[in-house]
Symmetry: D3
Subunit: 67 residues, 6 copies
């Protein structure tokens, strides 16, 4: 299955921090760190943990350009 979101960056989870409702995930992608905030429920249901190989998915309408 394909998803329309055009940005899909694969890397390894470097850190998972759980709050009551949200979770902060840091993914190492090449030389960059990608940071994601998702629900704690998704983090738990997907059993996200340091070292997992994951893909950060970002819809192109959410990407701004700075110059």
């Amino acid at each position: 299955m394909a998803i329309s979101a055009r940005n899909q960056l694969t890397g390894r989870i470097k850190e998972v921090k759980l709050g009551t409702v949200m979770a902060h995930i840091v993914v190492q992608v090449g030389d960059n760190e990608i940071e994601s905030v998702i629900t704690r429920r998704s983090a738990e249901e997907m059993n996200l943990k340091t070292g997992d190989t994951v893909t950060a998915v970002i819809k192109s309408t959410e990407v701004m350009i700075q110059k």
Copy 2:
């Protein structure tokens, strides 16, 4: 000045495609292509063109995780 958006990926513009209202920008960041959709007005006012060094900026709440 700093912005709260935690994802800031620097690269070079590979393609600019203008529509009537929107513009599609492709940025080469290391081995990855980052795609962005912004207003045509911003693309024109910032004079975005192939070869420009730019930074793609993404709020962490917009990043999903796939595993």
Copy 3:
């Protein structure tokens, strides 16, 4: 593979309208119509057309509540 986005609504495409940069997709999900705007490129690469069975995917941070 699982994605962290908690809203995944499966239905059939009722309409695809292409612009220069964007595409407007209408999906019938049960009694509701779900409308999506994605890039024209994704619509073309995924060959989206009327009658296709697809899943609308929405991150929970993008959902507001009205009462």
Copy 4:
């Protein structure tokens, strides 16, 4: 009053979970569950509780398509 957001799904609140800053709301809409993350303040000011009839509102630019 009308709002430009094209997705408006009416259902009943099935669960409200409050964090310090955010709140996680689950709404039953026909056969689907819609999950929303809003501020705790909005959840409290609107007095959202299980059983309330509410409408989930989603801007079409936030909806991805998976096929």
Copy 5:
């Protein structure tokens, strides 16, 4: 009816520009201009035109802070 989106800025439409799929709306709110991109369909169905009094609605998770 109340909506959970915490930012609601009332002003007058200064400009409407229609594309094939999207529409660019400029709203004068006090001393600031607020710019919005919505679907052309919503702009047409709501009959948005210069001079209309409207409210720009923004979910707080979409607002970044620069300092």
Copy 6:
């Protein structure tokens, strides 16, 4: 440096509330309050506090219109 986000509203921070993962920031902009939810990490790294002059930055695709 310029950013493509077309909405940039300058004001003073009126309140900062920290959760475990997220932070809720209220900014007084003229007669309006703008509310933002960012990561706690950004709030701490930027040392955001009441009285700071900041700019709320919003991508135009995130702005809805109500009429």
